[in-house]
């Protein structure tokens, strides 16, 4: 099977700091994979590199047969690689439905027509159907997170990058969101790559974990192996918290 995403020795420097160093991995279609690592490990930088928000210094990334090097963010999205942001970034002053409509207007999906109907269907899918006409400014954080995912889904991605989807959520919001992600993976056949700190969600959601520290990949494997991996344990211990107790 050919990989959907192939990342080969991707490197990014910010001045003297190497934020992402020689990162290589592959994602197979239909996989659900996690990126684990302490703060500053380069996870979000990796997402920004893949989605065209910042340029790679070295290395190659190929998505679905297209090189991602030098592509503007909107071009990457229109290849079928969508992302969400760690801090929700809704279009303030607009309604929930209009927020999703913008994603439905991406060239990749615009030709399909029935834009409003599609936007409503996606809102229903993420559980925001009843709030379609509400202003996003009035939405609680958990709903903004769903909206963020809905807007990405509107572009009909083959690969969805979720940047800490559980960050800032209350404990009662985590399980439903986790189920939503699982459903998108199972029913839509979506390939998903998730950044997360919290191990409990990882254990239940992902099949494979890419562990990073100081911009480098330190281990790749199934979650159960990763949490016992000596370098992963080392990366977490001596920092703010041990991963096993943190979840």
């Amino acid at each position: 099977m050919t990989a959907l995403l192939r990342v080969d020795r991707v490197t990014k420097r910010f001045g003297g700091l190497v934020a992402v160093k020689d990162v290589s991995f592959e994602l197979q279609p239909g996989e659900i994979t996690g990126v684990l690592g302490p703060n500053g490990a380069g996870k979000t930088t990796l997402f920004n590199l893949l989605t065209g928000f910042i340029a790679m210094d070295l290395g190659v990334a190929e998505f679905d047969g297209h090189s991602l090097g030098g592509l503007a963010p909107h071009r990457v999205v229109n290849l079928g690689l969508a992302r969400t942001f760690q801090l929700c970034r809704p279009f303030r002053g607009m309604s929930v439905i209009d927020n999703v409509t913008v994603g439905c207007l991406a060239p990749r999906v615009r030709g399909e027509g029935g834009i409003e109907a599609r936007a409503r269907r996606i809102l229903g899918q993420v559980g925001l159907g009843a709030k379609a006409e509400a202003l996003v400014d009035a939405l609680p954080y958990g709903d903004l997170r769903r909206l963020e995912i809905a807007r990405a889904l509107a572009t009909k991605p083959k690969l969805l990058l979720l940047d800490e989807p559980f960050a800032g959520l209350g404990s009662n919001e985590i399980e439903p969101l986790s189920q939503l992600i699982r459903r998108l993976h199972a029913e839509e056949g979506l390939t998903i790559l998730i950044i997360e700190h919290k191990l409990r969600e990882f254990m239940q959601l992902v099949r494979r974990v890419i562990a990073m520290d100081f911009g480098e990949i330190i281990a790749i494997g199934p979650p159960a192996e990763i949490v016992r991996h000596p370098r992963v344990v080392e990366a977490y211990i001596g920092r703010t918290e041990a991963p096993l107790g943190a979840a």
Partner: protein, 308 residues
């Protein structure tokens, strides 16, 4: 009745009142003031289409107005072509300027676009003085042919032009174009992440905005039967921004009302004599301070009962 129906009836009522005023107050002077305020309406609503919707403030809308006005003046005054040619060619000249400024600066974030617009308009004003042999310098280009002999007919022509401008821009703003432009205002990076080429939309919005401003500039030259460097003035650009804020930015129709209101206000305050500017400034400060969403658009919503 739906929102569109009430909006349409309201717009028709405003149009009818504007059409009747010069028939009731029969004064060439007053009709002239009204004509200029309609032209201000075209300038302000076209400013709002780019800057109100996308949130990218244009501090030099006079660049497009001046481009349209001087183009019309050159064609008619120097080359002795029909004044009608000034309207389309003035629009094209303004669009050319919008590309020169917009193309390099709208790809960037930060204040570059606002500053470049301000600088470009100021530079053009200087150039009209430096190349005075062609532009007439401070005197400008006088003695242009009017579009119509009758002031009243010119007034109705400007009223039609304003209605057409506002109508077209309002339709665009309520289409998927408007949704995308408002999303750019909300969060540019998120808009890119939704697959939208934001640079394309910002430049296209500026081109549309400049085209209508250029037509407005040509109309102004035709009405004045002359053009002077004042059409490039910073003061004009700032006045337009204030009018848009008073009207309610991002609504397209609000700035039309804001422009007509503020353009007429000095005339309405004429009875106050030398205190006129004081009162004008105070009224302005009160409006801007107490109604952050503008004055015209919220009142309109109350009357038509529309939510947003």
């Amino acid at each position: 009745m739906g929102r569109r129906g009430k909006d349409a009836i309201g717009a028709a009522a405003v149009f009818a009142v504007l059409a009747l005023i010069p028939l009731v107050i029969r004064s060439d002077y007053f009709t002239g003031i009204l004509t200029v305020s309609l032209i201000f309406g075209i300038w302000t609503t076209s400013w709002d289409f780019m800057s109100g919707l996308t949130g990218r403030e244009n501090f030099g809308h006079a660049l497009f107005i001046g481009a349209g006005a001087y183009t019309a003046a050159f064609l008619n005054g120097k080359f002795e072509l029909t004044p009608w040619l000034g309207l389309p060619v003035g629009a094209l000249a303004a669009v050319a300027f919008s590309l020169v400024v917009g193309f390099p600066t709208l790809r960037l974030r930060g204040p570059y676009f606002a500053l470049a617009m301000l600088a470009a308009a100021t530079i053009m004003q200087r150039l009209t003085r430096i190349f005075w042999e062609y532009t007439g310098g401070e005197e400008g280009i006088p003695g242009l042919d009017p579009l119509f002999e009758s002031h009243l007919v010119m007034y109705y022509f400007c009223l039609g032009a304003l209605a057409l401008t506002a109508g077209v821009l309002l339709l665009l703003a309520r289409s998927s174009w408007g949704t995308i432009l408002r999303a750019i205002r909300g969060d540019e990076a998120a808009c890119q992440a939704a697959g939208i080429n934001v640079t394309f939309y910002k430049i296209a919005a500026l081109m549309i905005s400049s085209a209508f401003a250029g037509i407005g500039g040509a109309l102004y030259a035709d009405y004045q039967e002359a053009v002077t460097p004042d059409v490039f003035a910073v003061a004009l650009s700032i006045t337009i921004i204030i009018m848009a804020y008073v009207g309610g930015i991002g609504t397209i129709y609000g700035p039309v009302g804001g422009a007509i209101l503020l353009a007429m206000l000095p005339e309405l305050l004429r009875g106050l004599g030398e205190y006129r500017l004081w009162v004008y400034s105070l009224v302005l400060i009160f409006i801007l301070y107490f109604t952050p969403g503008g004055l015209v658009a919220p009142i309109w919503r109350r009357f038509t009962g529309t939510a947003r």
